[in-house]
Every structure is written in structure tokens, then in C-alpha cells.
């Protein structure tokens, strides 16, 4: 028994670091960015902590963060959804169109929520039902939505539409953004950590066969995860549309990639599983947005920011996605 005692005593520092290298790296990335921009930007005569810059930061981060938090439920299961960008686009378009016809945003939002349910069923349920990998239906959804969006804007005869009568200035408030984000994070963390939905999502990502043999209903819980994510996407679409009060045929383009990059920057394993965390979405999207706001402030030419972001992304991936060794050979 002497050994057991020794074990517990030896665990702390080094072991903890070894086990949590991903967390350390992802939080480290965020802290590094914050420090860098806090120290360097004043030299250039600007401050990242100015109200204006914080507002820009918040508006930059809000849509990605809201989406990424929802996407954690999908990524945790080891699934990918590449239709997210187009979903945002169609939601934003519908909100503006219905807003202009009815004079209120509510019908548009309700319709989008219903629509998100349809997408959740297609993306989440068709996999287990027809035995196909879930990225396939999401490709189909993406393409169908692209087609619909093209037709809609062709019929309208314009490339962008704007809210005419509704006052949308409230959605520009950084405070509201912060509050909504915090509420969404709180609800998501609760569902992810303290209910079967999140626990099962992680288990499904780690070992689907064992999950099913332990009584996890793949169909039911995959559907639930896609539904939760869908609601988060609708909320994100509201802010995407609300910031400018408009939607266009290019709204949402590439968002699914922003989500992927944010999640990886935040330390989310791309294959899902037990190490999935909601915090990855938050940390990742803030790092991502900070780079966007901060890099030009420290004097990096705008045309270079993509390269700088790619380099930072690469470094984080090298640290977080490395194969973990050190398990007993059996």
C-alpha cells in the first residue's frame, strides 16, 4: 500500500502539465495574444483596451463564438458539419425578408428555428438511419442551400438586402453581445457537462461501438446534439444580420472553416471524444478574433494577417494534436 500513497503524492505538477498540455497550449495562446497586444499596441499609439477596439473585438468574436459553442456538440461526436455557413446565410436572408414584410423580427426567427430543426434532422438523423457518415448529408444541405440562396438573390435582382423599417441598433451593443454569449455559454456548459446529452456526445466521439453497447441511442442523441447546435446557429445568425441590418448572397461564406480553426485553436480534438470542451470554442474564437483585431494594430500589413494566423494555427496544432504516448503496452 506504500506505493499507492507515493503515487498520489507524485501526481501533481509534472503529471498535470503532461495531461493538460492541450489546455495549457490553447489558453497559453490566448494569454500570449492578450499580453502581446496589450504591451505592443501602446507603442504604436493605439490600445486594444480602448472602448472602440473592445467593441470591434466583440463584434468580431460574437458570431464565431456563438456558432462554435454550438458546434462543440457536433465536433464532440467526431462529426463535421460544413453546411453551417450556408445555414447562417439562409437564416439571415429570411430574417431580413420576413422582417421587411411583417415589420417584426420574431416571425423570421421562429421560422429559422423551425428550419434549423429540419437541418438537424437531415444532418443528424440521416447518418444513423441510412448508415452514411454525417459529413455527406451536410455537403448535400450546403449545396442545396447555395442553390436556393443564388435563386433568391437572382429573383430579388440584388446581391444584398437591408432591413427597412425595423430598428436593429440594439444588436450593435457590445454589452448585449456579451450577455447573450455568456448565457449561451452557461446553457451549453450545463448541457455538455451535467446532462446525458453532452456526456453521450463525448462517449460517441471516443468509441461509438462501446457507447451503443452501453445503451446510448445513437439516433436520439445525435439528433439532440444537432438540434442544440442548430439553435446556437440561429442565435449567431441574428447577430450576423443585426450588426449591419442586412444579408447578402455572400453572408456566411467560409464560416464553417472559421469554426474549425477556432475550435482547434481552443484545443478541441478534431476527432471529438473525451477531451472535447465548451471552453475550447470560447478560447479559440477569442484568440481568432484577437488576432484579427490585434495584428493590424501592431503594424502588420493587412495582407500579411492571413499568413500570421496560419503560422500561429500551425504552432497550436503541433502542440495540441501531437500523438500522446506513455500508455502501458496493454
Amino acid at each position: 500500500m506504500e506505493e499507492t500513497v507515493k503515487m498520489t503524492a507524485a501526481v501533481p505538477a509534472r503529471e498535470w502539465l503532461k495531461k493538460n498540455v492541450t489546455t495549457v497550449a490553447s489558453y497559453g495562446g490566448l494569454i500570449f495574444c492578450v499580453l502581446l497586444f496589450t504591451i505592443v499596441t501602446p507603442i504604436k499609439g493605439e490600445s486594444i483596451w480602448s472602448a472602440e477596439k473592445l467593441g470591434t473585438l466583440m463584434s468580431n468574436v460574437i458570431v464565431t463564438a456563438l456558432m462554435s459553442v454550438g458546434a462543440v456538440f457536433i465536433y464532440a461526436m467526431g462529426n463535421l458539419d460544413i453546411s453551417i455557413g450556408k445555414q447562417i446565410s439562409i437564416y439571415a436572408t429570411l430574417m431580413v425578408l420576413l422582417g421587411n414584410t411583417t415589420g417584426s423580427l420574431v416571425p423570421g426567427i421562429v421560422l429559422c428555428l423551425l428550419l434549423s430543426l429540419v437541418f438537424a434532422i437531415i444532418n443528424g438523423a440521416s447518418g444513423p438511419l441510412f448508415n452514411i457518415i454525417p459529413i455527406i448529408p451536410s455537403v448535400v444541405v450546403m449545396q442545396v442551400l447555395s442553390g436556393i440562396i443564388t435563386i433568391v438573390y437572382a429573383v430579388l435582382g440584388t446581391r444584398s438586402i437591408t432591413l427597412r423599417t425595423i430598428d436593429y441598433s440594439v444588436f450593435k451593443s457590445p454589452l448585449l453581445m456579451l450577455v447573450v454569449l455568456l448565457v449561451e455559454i452557461a446553457v451549453a456548459m450545463f448541457l455538455f457537462n451535467y446532462t446525458r446529452i453532452g456526456k453521450y456526445a463525448k462517449i460517441l466521439g471516443a468509441n461509438k461501438t462501446a457507447a451503443i453497447q452501453s445503451g446510448v441511442s445513437l439516433l436520439k442523441f445525435r439528433l439532440l446534439c444537432y438540434m442544440i447546435a442548430g439553435i446556437c446557429f440561429v442565435v449567431a445568425a441574428i447577430f450576423q444580420m443585426g450588426y449591419t441590418g442586412s444579408a447578402s448572397d455572400s453572408t456566411g461564406t467560409g464560416f464553417e472553416m472559421n469554426i474549425m480553426v477556432s475550435l482547434i485553436l481552443g484545443g478541441m480534438p478534431i476527432s471529438g471524444g473525451m477531451r472535447s470542451r465548451i471552453s475550447a470554442a470560447v478560447v479559440g474564437s477569442f484568440t481568432f478574433a484577437l488576432l484579427d483585431v490585434g495584428l493590424p494594430l501592431i503594424g502588420l500589413p493587412t495582407r500579411m494577417t492571413f499568413i500570421a494566423k496560419a503560422v500561429i494555427f500551425l504552432i497550436v496544432v503541433l502542440i495540441t494534436s501531437r500523438k500522446k504516448g506513455g500508455a502501458l503496452p496493454r
Binding site: E3, T4, K6, M7, T8, A10, V11, E15, K18, Y194, T195, R196, K199, Y200, K202, I203, A206, N207, T209, A210, A211, I212, Q213, S214, G215, V216, S217, G273, M274, R275, G325, G326, A327, L328, P329, R330
Partner: protein
Amino acid sequence: MGEKVLQIRHMRKEFGPTVALKDVDITLNRGEIRGLIGENGSGKSTIMSIASGMQPPTSGSMTYLEKPWHPANMVEAQAAGISMILQEANTIPGVTVAQNIFAGHEKEFSRMGIINMEKMYREADQLLEKFGIDRIHARDSINHYNFEDRKLIEIVRCVTDDTRILVVDETTTALSLEGREILYRLIHRMAEEDDKTIVFVSHDMDEIIEHCSVLTVLRDGEIVGELSRAEMDAPDAVQRIRYLMVGREIGEKYYREDFDSSHGEEVALELKDVPWGPIRHFNMKLHKGEILGFGGLSGCGMHEIGRIAYGIEKPEGGTVIRNGKEIRTPLSAIESGIGYISKNRDREALVLDASIEQNIVLPSLRSLEKGIVVLPGDEHRMAEKEIESFRIKCYSGRQLVNTLSGGNKQKVSFAKWSAKESEVIIMDCPTRGVDIGVKQAMYALIEQMKKDGKAVLMISEELSELVGMADEIVIMKDFEVVKTFKRAPDLKQTDIIEYMI
């Protein structure tokens, strides 16, 4: 005995806080079949995994063929002549048998970057023939072969003319009688005719005693004894080795000692006229308080019976019934009080990346719910209770399952259903890859389950445990029941084997 091939001095290996090897000295000689025996977690696999380049030691030195030996990986070790056949499957799915055998050696068959597949197939077939394996063909996709055949293919891949040390790590647990014979012939030929060194890692004492020329016993990361051939032939050798392995007398009680095969009247689980694939019209009744054993060779259909009874495989007709309700999915099985321990522990029974606690509570999460909330405190209490009652060796319930040894992993898969308080347990090879100490505990547990009125469906490839534990043994062959045996003091394995093959 020949000259020294590999010398290991003061080897130490730590995995985080766990010390797998303390300070091990061992010398391997030419022409010997060296047995390494010890309980799970004794470090017996670790020694050779270090020598064959799978992982580096924490400290210590190795001398191979009179030169310092620091293999960077398994490929380097294999090229230098140290090959290891692993416990778990290690073949590449989706390609042919020949591609598996010559994986990494494609250059030998290629000209200007194009591989001559005909030549590869021809040579692979010749190799298979040389090993006496005629039922495997080089052109076939490896997916057509079962676990056992893949193991044989792996052996063919590992062993070349340049092999000086062949490490066979618990391989025989995956092999049937025929596969074992092929392996035994091979190691004897290599050691006795070609003067090569075989390291035979196992915890099956009969096998070790029968085939090894010298035996090293490990316990808790230390060498506790070495036995010569003469010592292994001594009448008390089994007791002596067992004592060395466990470090205490484990007593004579191993299997059940009673021969009372009575059980409750109530049917706990019934298969009615079930067809599935090659299985036709299968009927079975499992009663409360009964241990029903299923035996046969690995391809006889007995594993499928367990999977059908648990709702994993959908029967093409007939019904699986418990308490008047039909079982269609694992979920409905669990809800009606059935638990299932898969033969494929690492892939189906456990989530290796999850903690012990997360694994134990997994089937019970639904019953732990308060509204929709699962409180961490409830999960923790449930897991702690099982960890304690099963004596799972760990420093905390948060420890990941993939850091546990085989026996402790198996305890976790039992604990899942004990926590769920399942009334019917279907166990497929419950003691596969588990050492004596844990086995003894498992048997005691199964006996207790019977006493508690639980129903146990015990599917096993080990006849001795069926004879030792089951009230009734059903023997299957070619997907049919060929014979059933009642529990009896004079029932012998040899009486049963003839019905199996």
C-alpha cells in the same frame, strides 16, 4: 545453451506515477525458449516492448550482439532481428494479405516505382506454405479473415530469416487449437533447429511449462525467480510458479466447488426459434440463478448467440424475450436488466480514453438523472463503490482506463453492470487476457451472482472454466448445438473436446 544474444542491465520503466519495471537484469541466450510469466501489470510485456523498440526505458542499458542497443522504433528493431508479435491485432485492414506481409518491404518488389504484385503474391503464398498455413491466400483481402487468421498473418510478417529474437506476447489467447499448434511448431523449429531465441510472454502456465526451456517469473516489476527445465518438470512446479507470481498462497479454491446445478424456475432470458446468418432456429432458455455455459471453437457461432441475445445483431426472425418483452437493441436489453461484456474489451466494452468513473457509470447515467441533470457527486459515489468492491488498482476514479492493465480493465467492464444492478449478465470470454489472481476473483463473483439469483450466460473459449463454473454446458459446432453437458464431478474436458472439432 548458446552464447548471449541480448543482455539487459538495471532496466527501469515508469509510466507517470506507475513503476512498471523496477530494476531488471536479464540475459537471453541463443537457442532458448525463454518464458516470461507474471500477473497483469507485472511488467512482463514491458521488458520486451522496450527491447523491440516500442518504447524507450526510463533508465538502464541493453547490449544486443555485443553492441549497445537503443532501438528507435519497432521497424529498426525488426530490421536488426528483434521481432515482436503483439497481443492485440496489428494488421492493416482493407488491403490484401500479401500487402500486409510485405508492408514496408514494397521496394523489393518495385521497379521504377511500380510494384510487381504478381511477384508479391507468389512470394507471400510461398511464405504461408512454409509456415504450414494453407487456408490463407495471399491475394485475398485481409478483411475476409478473422482475428485468429490475422494473427497468423502477423506471425508470417514478423518472422524472417534474419530474425534472431522472436517475442510472442500473449498471442495464443487469440488463437484456437490449430493456430496454437502452428505457432508452437514454429517456435520449436526456430529455437532448436535454427538456434534462434524465442521469448514467450504468457500467463498461461500449462503452455509455458510445456514449451519453454527456461522460465523467468516477474512480480510488480521485478524478477522474482528463474526456473530451469528440470525445475519446471518437478511435481510441485505449478504451485511454486503460482506462489512466485502472486507472492502469497492463493489457496486451492479456484472454480466452484459445489456440483449443485439446480436453479430457479423462472426464465430470465429466452431465445425462441431465432435464425441469424448461418444460425438456424436457435432456441435457448436461461433461468434465474443459472450459469449457462457456451463452448466451442472460435468460429462456431457461440459469440453470435451472445450478441443476438443482447440485441446487437438483429435476428432474421424469431424472438429474444425477457420478462415478456422483446429485446431488439442493446438499449432495450439494458432497460430490461441485461448486461453484456464483450469479448473485444478494448474496442467494444470500454471507452479507453474515458476515465474509470465515466466507464462505470455509463450504462447507469439514465438512472442517475434528477430531471435532466446528472450530478457529479452521484456519479462519483457510484463509481467509488464499484472501484472499492472490485478492488480496481488505480490512484483515482479519474484515471483513464487505457492506463490500466488487462485484468483491471476487465474489472471495469464487470463493474459497469454491477453498478447498473443487471439481473442477466452475458459474458463473452470473461477472463480473456486476465491473470490468475483476477480470474479467481472473477470466478468468485460469478458464483456469487448465481447465489444472488442472477442469470449468467457464459460464453468461453476456455473449456476448463466452463467445466469449473457452468450448470450446463452447450457445445456448438458449425453454428449448431451439438451436445449439452450437465454439471458433474466426473465431467472432463476430454469428453467435451471431441464434440467441438
